[in-house]
Amino acid sequence: MNLNFLGVTAAITAFLAIWIGHMAVRKIEAESHNIKIPMLIAITLGLITEYFSLTTFNLQLSTALGILGITLLWDAFEIYRQQNRIKHGHAPANPNNPRHAKILAEYSTATTLDLLKRDPIGRQVSPEEAPKLITH
């Protein structure tokens, strides 16, 4: 029986692409004054990666590049979605970023606190109590 490692390649690529993309989107959105620039860069990188996936006949490489390219294209949309999370207070705003400072002034739901930075306590939490529970 032959062993087929294509699935493992896909799994590792997907996991790393999601993980790194997840961290990069949060960091880049928090620092960017204009999110259209990183969105455009992510789209360009995604399209270039897909081009290389299309032109290689090595299945392992084609798989990894194919997954990475689509992830980069999705990351462009995630940068936009991250900005909406900031508006809703579901992710912390960066007061030193003028775009975030404007969001903080316009949206009462926006906050500089990361309300998810804690362990679950097993009961519902009020908006007043939530900031006091942040532990790390």
Partner: protein
């Protein structure tokens, strides 16, 4: 032109999309301590993909496994989101109790 990679990329994207309800419902019905089971299932599925001879199927099985592993690292944060009211909250008393849940609760749940 080799369309294998780009089509696999799109299929991967759709499978990862299924990870969202997996995390939301996994936490709601089983609790965040289901992470041990979800992560173990993920690694077993990835190992199983090695024995799938068909390339398309091997990749699909591998990506499903990766989605489970990633989902397991999201369960703890999802539990906090439910406590904050961003998602429906289901108390522990109404959750399905998994074996060794009390032991797993003492371990630090992974989060990336």
């Amino acid at each position: 032109m080799n369309f294998f990679g780009i089509l696999i990329g799109i299929i991967t994207f759709l499978i990862i999309g299924l990870g969202f309800p997996l995390v939301i419902r996994g936490e709601r019905y089983f609790g965040y301590w289901a992470w041990v089971y979800m992560m173990s299932a993920g690694f077993l599925i990835i190992i199983a993909s090695i024995f799938v001879q068909n390339d398309w199927l091997s990749v699909i099985v591998g990506v499903i496994g990766a989605t489970f592993v990633w989902g397991s690292t999201e369960l703890k944060e999802q539990a906090v989101r439910a406590e904050l009211g961003w998602f429906p909250f289901n108390p522990a008393s109404r959750k399905i109790k998994l074996p060794f849940a009390d032991v797993i609760k003492k371990w630090k749940a992974p989060h990336l």
